[in-house]
Amino acid sequence: MFAPLAHHSEVFVKFVVGIVCVALINMGMAGAASAAIVDTAALVTSDRAADMGVVRTQLDRADVRAKMTEMGIDATAVDSRLASLSDRELHKLAVDMQNAPAGGDVVWIIGAVFIVLIILELTGVIDIFKKT
């Protein structure tokens, strides 16, 4: 009973090894091609000081992917959204996705708070633009 199974599993192992080999070769080629020139984003002045490690970017990506899924975006949309983000943007999201400003709705009760603020501002009780 086990003999044919053993034979099958041997074929299967060969098959898997074959796939892994092809994948590794492809990976190597992709790596070489992308290493040829350095992206401008990695060279802009503001980033030159920071060590934008490849490892950090991969961690950020995994982190943002998990958070986006958790926050109710379906898997296919997550991939497409991640694709348009730069390393720096990925990092921003990884750090601050929970608390960064999220523009949404204006409801009445909040509008009321804002109106009070505006009254204070317009009547000169406060002046948030005062130059100190």
Binding site: L43, D51, G53, M68, S84, S86, G104, D105, V113, I118
Partner: protein, 333 residues
């Protein structure tokens, strides 16, 4: 029931406020006249800006669809929901609002945090997407809206916001919401367009992020415009060089990277990319000269790995192929 009571309270506050506004409007200085850039119109309204009334919490997709539409991208607010809306946050994040236009071959440029930049963009015919805070700095309630114009005489801004196609805002009211929201604003640019109020660092950062997913031809347009505006910025030349390289025009790439190296001889990325272009042109000896000028040990990762990699390719080429035509190895500016 509770909701209705809240609405009634809010309406009362609104009427009280309106009364006060009427009595108070003469007491403060106007904003717009003091922030008009030289040569700006006294009055602008970009009436052709499309409008998408927002659905619950979805002012992000609605505002983005409007500024993309003004830049000739035909996309609806609904189509942008899966692109920028974050259900658990009941809103959209600035980072994603800024990244989304790249999907449509457009750059997002975040404006400098002053009113003059906003007015300058409106004068250049570009509606401005802004982030407002209608709460308090310590209790923020965020909202995206699109500024489509202003009137200097009445000191008012004209907005597309929420469910309102056209709404006029007293400049001071607008400023309170914008100021408390961190004065964040962005415009959408076609490749090759430079913002009226452009700052080289902000623009080149935006273009560099655009490059990763853009077609080489679009990327070339974006950096080409930067070179014309700021010919002494090495990053502008590097960006155009990379676009040329990706299009397979190695001689043009070497010319642009060469210009960047002349402007900034310490720029390891420019030298690495120049070396790689020279190698692709069949000039490994010239390529090696470029890398010889670098102190590889002092470079940060992953730039160091890229340079070491280029080194290996050059060594391999040196041992196999002799130089065929040395004349193309010294690209002229």
């Amino acid at each position: 029931m509770e909701k209705r009571a809240a609405a009634r309270a809010a309406r009362f506050a609104f009427f009280a406020a309106s009364l006060l506004l009427l009595t108070a409007c003469v007491t403060r200085e106007p904003f717009i006249p003091a922030n008009l850039p030289a040569g700006a119109h006294r009055q602008v309204e970009l009436a052709a800006t499309p409008f998408f009334p927002q659905k619950k919490y979805q002012c992000g997709p609605a505002a983005l669809a409007a500024v993309l539409g003004a830049s000739d991208v035909g996309v609806t607010a609904d189509e942008l929901v899966p692109v920028v809306y974050l259900p658990a946050r009941h809103g959209s994040l600035q980072v994603e609002m800024q990244a989304a236009p790249r999907k449509f071959g457009r750059l997002a440029y975040p404006l400098s945090r002053n009113l003059e930049s906003v007015i300058a963009e409106l004068n250049a015919g570009r509606p401005v997407l802004v982030l407002h805070n209608y709460g308090l700095p310590s209790w923020p309630r965020w909202h995206y809206a699109v500024v489509i114009g202003y009137d200097s005489a009445s000191d008012e801004f004209i907005l597309r916001s929420g469910k309102k196609r056209r709404t006029e805002w007293r400049a001071r009211t607008f400023m309170v919401a914008w100021h408390n929201g961190g004065r964040w604003a962005m415009v959408v640019l076609r490749p090759g367009e430079i913002p009226a109020s452009a700052d080289p660092t902000l623009y080149l950062d935006a273009a560099a992020e655009f490059e990763r997913t853009a077609k080489p031809e679009d990327s070339r347009l974006a950096f080409d415009a930067a070179i014309r505006r700021w010919p002494d910025q090495p990053v502008a030349w590097i960006g155009r060089g990379t676009a040329e390289y990706r299009a397979g025009r190695f001689a043009n790439a070497a010319r642009d990277y060469g210009a960047a190296v002349r402007l900034d001889p310490e720029n390891a990325g420019a030298r690495n990319n120049l070396a790689q272009s020279l190698l692709d042109l069949g000039c490994p000896a010239h390529a090696r000269e470029q890398l010889a000028a670098l102190k590889i040990d002092t470079l940060a990762s992953p730039l160091r790995e890229a340079v070491l990699d280029t080194h290996r390719h050059i060594d391999a080429a040196m041992s196999t192929s002799p130089v065929v035509d040395a004349s193309k190895c010294s690209p002229q500016p």
